[in-house]
Structure formats: structure tokens, C-alpha cells
């Protein structure tokens, strides 16, 4: 691939020096835009998304990987998917996730007693979603952080986070998900028996 050099003449011609032709051309260009944008349906070349208009749904315009307000996903029995592994709170660069674990009562897993995210501290990096091993925390609400009057209102607890949640289609690790039993035979990765 060769690099082309475009030579621009810096010699001012008479046409440049009387200004008016260039000015007239410029005016024509801007006037063309003006009339196209005012007098054609759909406002011509104006591509602005009219956020804030009542009939415009912001979510229609955001990409699927847009990171919005967090949510906690549900199991099939509507309980929280989170197993309080602390991956998200560990990876969080802003230290905005606080999890207090408790016994889930099924002798296999923990559950969060409280799951608190301070949305004002959150830097919306999405590391928590990447870190989560069981698809419990997501940022796919396409919802902006909402304005609050009190700082405390921006601290979301388990109930708030779960109210945005839904059932996940992923297989839940834990009860009845015996990956050793379901693993393909002869796969050396599953041969090691810790006991």
C-alpha cells in the first residue's frame, strides 16, 4: 500500500482574494441544509435521537451490550441466584458492592443475606458481570442511573436489584447440578477426585 501525497496549492488566486465566490458557495451549502432539514418530512439529515420525548423509548436505541443499572437474576423458584461467592465485590474497582452471606439451608450453597450496590460509586465497568460464575448479576437493564434527591436513595439493596431481575435460562450451579456426573466420560479435566 502506497501513501499518496495530495499537494495543495497555497498560492492565492484572484478568486480567493475577492472572497465573495467562496462565501457564496458556503452560504449555498448551509442554506441547502437549512431548507432540507426544515421542509422535508422527518427533518432531512437530522439524525439526533430524540431522547426525553415522551413517545421515544430510549431502550430501542441502545445496543444490547449497553451497561445500565444492575439487576439480580432469579432461580426458578423466584429466589436469588446469587451464591454469595464474593467474586463481584472482589473484582469491583470502585468497591461499591457489599455482600453479606448467610446459609441457604440446602447444605450446598450460600446465599446473600444482603446484597448492596452503591450506584453513585459504581463506575459502570461491568467487571462484576464478567466475574459472576452463575449469571446472577447483570447490567442489561438499558436503564440509566436515575436521579435521586437523597444519596441514600442511590444505594440499591437486594429487593430493588431483584425487582429488575428475571429468571435466567442458565443452568444453576448447586442443587441437582452435578457436573461430575454429567461430565463426558474420559475427560481428564474431571478425573481428579478431591476426596
Amino acid at each position: 500500500m502506497t501513501i499518496g501525497v495530495k499537494k495543495v496549492s497555497l498560492v492565492r488566486t484572484t478568486r480567493d482574494q475577492i472572497y465573495l465566490p467562496a462565501i457564496f458557495e458556503g452560504l449555498l451549502t448551509t442554506a441547502r441544509h437549512f431548507f432540507k432539514n426544515t421542509l422535508t418530512p422527518g427533518m432531512g439529515d437530522v439524525d439526533t435521537i430524540r431522547y426525553g420525548e415522551p413517545e421515544v423509548d430510549v431502550k430501542d436505541y441502545y445496543p444490547d451490550r449497553f451497561r445500565g443499572v444492575h439487576r439480580l437474576m432469579h432461580r426458578e423458584d423466584e429466589s436469588v441466584r446469587c451464591v454469595a461467592c464474593m467474586c463481584c465485590s472482589t473484582v469491583c474497582p470502585a468497591n461499591c458492592i457489599t455482600i453479606e452471606a448467610e446459609d441457604r439451608g440446602d447444605e450446598r450453597e450460600k446465599a446473600p443475606k444482603s446484597f448492596v450496590i452503591d450506584e453513585l460509586k459504581c463506575v459502570v465497568c461491568g467487571f462484576c458481570v464478567e466475574a459472576c460464575p452463575c449469571d446472577a448479576i447483570r447490567m442489561d437493564t438499558k436503564e440509566h442511573m436515575f436521579p435521586t434527591e437523597q444519596r441514600g436513595d442511590a444505594v440499591l439493596g437486594k429487593v430493588d436489584l431483584m425487582s429488575r431481575g428475571a429468571a435466567s435460562v442458565a443452568v444453576q450451579g448447586g442443587i441437582s447440578a452435578d457436573y461430575r456426573a454429567d461430565a463426558p466420560k474420559g475427560d481428564p479435566r474431571f478425573d481428579h477426585d478431591p476426596h
Partner: protein, 602 residues
Amino acid sequence: MVTYSRLVLLWLLCCVGILPTGCVGDDPALVGGSAPLTIQTAPGRLVFDAKTSEIAVKVTNNTDADVFVSDFRIEGPDWESFMITDDVGSSALAKGVSVELHIRSQTADFVGGLRPSAVAAEHLSAPAPAPDSFREGSAKLVFGVAQVRRPDDVQAQTVPIRFEESPWWMRYALPAAAKILLLVMAFIMPLASFLTWLERKQSAMMQDRVGPNMANISLGPLKIRLWGLLHVATDGLKMLFKEDFIPKRAHRALYTLAPLFGLIPALVVFAIVPFGDAVCYDGLFDTLTQADVDQCAAGRGGTPMQIAHIDVGLLYYFAIASIATYGTVLAGWSSYNKWAVLGALRASAQMISYEVAIGLSLVGTLLVYGSLEPHTIVHAQMDTYWGIVLQPIALVLFFTAAIAETKRAPFDLPEADSEIIGYFLEYSGMRFGLFFLAEFIEVVFVSALITTLFLGGWTLPFGVLGASGFSSALACQVVFALGGLLFTVLGVAIWRAHKNGEFVGALVGLAGLAQLLVAGWSAVTGWGTELPHLAIVLIGMLTWGGKILMLCWLQLLIRWTLPRFRYDQVMSLGWKGLLPLSIANIVLTAVVVYFMMGSLPA
């Protein structure tokens, strides 16, 4: 026809007892002259009619013998201005015979004897007439009466002449107040506010953005937005309620005065802008001739559509425009801020430089039209061609210099948001609002001046609309058909292009259809050559307003298209570009005018 103003005057005067109750009718009592040879004149006290600038007198020989009447003349401080048009000379007047006599003012602009001619003032030591509306005895009709039998025994008879015209407040104050209300309050100020919105919206449209559109009035579920037009009101409210900040070390008095120095000159210059020919109080629904309208324009029975009809005209504009410099300089200096001072410095240098170019670029126009008075200049354009045809170079030069004078891009060095913020850096709230508004008022004024000097003011092109109507039915049809087509297309486009634009689109479209109907009506009946005076006045004002709007739009287009000059480029364009070109234009125009002396009104 008794004018409305005269009725009011007479009623008032009769009320306060200045006039005897019989003032309207004949008064047989005569002044001077001995009993047997008194000739009756009707009316007994002659009235100078300011509208026709004429005194009509009927002289009746009511004596019991034939007489000679001779040597009619006017005596008094104003006598030079009159001449007796009916030459009765020295004639015998038989018993019981009447003769009509007309005494006419010689000078066309003679209004009610307020301006005694120089000759009269020099030769007669009579005191200058008091500038009130009603003067009696300041002039009198004198003639000699002699019996036929004894022609040498001439007895002088005098009849006082009353100058009747409306009082000063009726002639000047009321029309001026009405015109100020109509022009400044009902047109300029709303238009300037409108331009603050248009500037933002138009720039948005030119740059493929949406622009201001959120301000609305909620009527229940209905939100009226009008493309953000209500931002004009919300911006005004915001300005009014913002903190009125004065820097601690600012010069408080000058800091307070500076916005007024910016705003008031910008408003006051509108006094000379004619926004129509003249309106006649009496014949609003009659078809008038140009001569009638000229009478009204001179203040007789009407008023020119111009706040101040002054002969110095454009000189007044130059004078006031240079005062506007003080607003910027004082604002910058009194703020006690080095950036503001820089802005003020730039503003003063720029405005003073470009004032030279403005003045000189218009000289060519003045040479062609031979007058400094804008109303007269528009009339001269009606008689010949518009200034854009006769003086295209002056138009370009003046437009450039005038944009520089308004301190807007590409000449916005005094403001220069990206470098020094400008001379009004410290101003906030409505004080800043006044500078902001003054800038847009100057934009409107530049449009008004260009309309007046180069685009034929209130007139339609090619002289299609005269004082009594369109020059032909075809002209009427063409004008209304073109206007109707434009409005209809525009209305349909607005209807289709904008959400909720149906109402405005329908209004514009209907206006277009109405014009098309008028054109059709004219095509069928040949109507249009004789229009009522009121319609002519309205069409004139609409034409003028349309030209102003178009030029304002053009100025905004220029402002949002061209990048800013560097400071030295501004100076070199002014002094090395516009100034020599305007002088060349003067020389060229002077040569051409000299050789075409006969065919141009110069």
C-alpha cells in the same frame, strides 16, 4: 369633508372658549374699512387649510354701488409664501356680485405658516410666529376698495387669516407615539426576541441538529411547543430572575449605564426608517392618488409612515451609531476586568474603523438618489430602479461593514467567546440581556437600512404597486399568484415535514390559497388597479416586513456559515479593502452621475 382632527380641534377650542361659537359659519363683521365701502368676504375670517395649503375666499359686493376692488395682497410674516392664484387684479365689482378668490401657498412644504420664508423674516421685523397651532392675525388679506365714481379714494380693507391646523400633539406627538408603538413595540422588539430563538433554531437546522424544542405550554394532555418558539419567553424569564451581579471593584454608575448606552441608540435609530409611504386619515377606504399621499406624507391630513421625517436622515443614523460605541467601551472599562477591557478595546477600534467604510459606502447611493432622507430615497427608487441595481458594489460594501458594526461573526472579535468572552464578560441577568437584545435589534436595523437604501423600502419590484393600486390587472394577478404559490407550497411543506405542524401549515397554506383566489378574482374581473388606501398601506407594510425578515435570515445564515476573522485581518479588510473600494465606488458613481445628469433624479 371635515377631517376628524379638525372636528376634534374645533370642538376643543369651542369648549375652552377660545373661539367664538360661530366660528364655523360666516362672520359678517369686518375688520377695518369704513362703513359704506365694506366688502363682505365669506368666511369673514379666512382660514388657511393646511391640507390643501390654500385659502378660499368669496368676495361679495354688498354695498349699494359698483366698486373697484384692487391690489389684493397678503400682509404679515408669512406673506412671501403666498400668491394669489386668481388674478382679479383691479376690477369692477358690480353691486351684489361675488367673486371667488384662491390664495395658495407657493412652497409645497409650507405647513400652516410655521416656516416664514427667509425673505419675509428679513424684510419684516414682525416677531416670529409662535409655534402653536392656532394663530390669528399673524397674516391678513389686504385689498383696496374704491367707489367707481371716485377711484382715487381707495379705502384699505383687511381680513385676518387664521392658520388652522391640528395642535402639535395631534400633528406630531400622537402620530409619533402611534408609530413608535406600531414599529418599535409591535415589530422591532418582538422580532428581536424572535431572532434570539431563530438564531439557535436556524443554526441547528444548518448543522443538522434539532435545536431548542422543549419549552411548552401544557393544556392538560396537550403540550403546545411551536418548535421551541416559547424559549423566547423562558429565556426572558431566566434573564429576569438571574442574579444581578456587579463586580466589587466595578464602576457602579457606568456599569449600570453601559447596557442602556448599548440598547437606546440601537432603538433610537429606527426613527428614520420608513416602513410605508404615508397614511391618510380621511380616505382609508377610498382610492387615492400619489399626489394625495404626498400631501399626507407632508403632514397634511395624514402622516408619513416614518417616526421622524427629518432631512438629515442618514447623518442622524451615523451620529447615533457612533454613540453605540460608548455602550461597549463603557461596559468593558467599568467591569474592572482585563478581558472585558480587551473586548472593549477591540470593539471601539473595530466600530470606529468600519464606521468610515459605512459612511463612505453610502455616499455613492446618496449621489444617485440626491437625498439623505430615507423616505425620499425610497421614492427616488420607485421612480428609477432599486439600489441593488444602481449601486450593487455599495450594497456589498455596506452589508459587510454593517455586519462588522453589529459585532457579530465573522466580525465578533469584541465578543470572541473562545478567547476573551468579550466586553460584557462580567454582566449577568437582564443587564446582559440588554446587550444581547441590542445586538439583535442592530441586526434588524441593518436589515431595515438595506431594505430602505437598496431594496426599495416598502415598494414592490418594477413599480407594480402604485399609490392607487396595481399598475395593471395583470400585475395584480402576477403578484398574488406568485405570493399564493409560495405560501401554498410552504404550507404544504410545513404540514408534511413536521409533527404537529398541521395547524401552522394549514394557516400558511390557507393564506396562500386566499392569495390565489384573489389572483383568480382579478383574472376574471380585471380587479386590482384601484385599491382602497388602507389595502395599499397594509401591502406596503407587509412587503417591508417580508424584506426585513428575509434579510435577518440572511444575516443569521452568514453568521453561522463564515469563520471568524483574525484581528489583523479585520483591520486590513476594513482599511485596505472596504475603504478604498468605497472611495472608488464614489468616484465611479460621481462620474456616471455627472454624465447622466439629465436622466437620473440626482
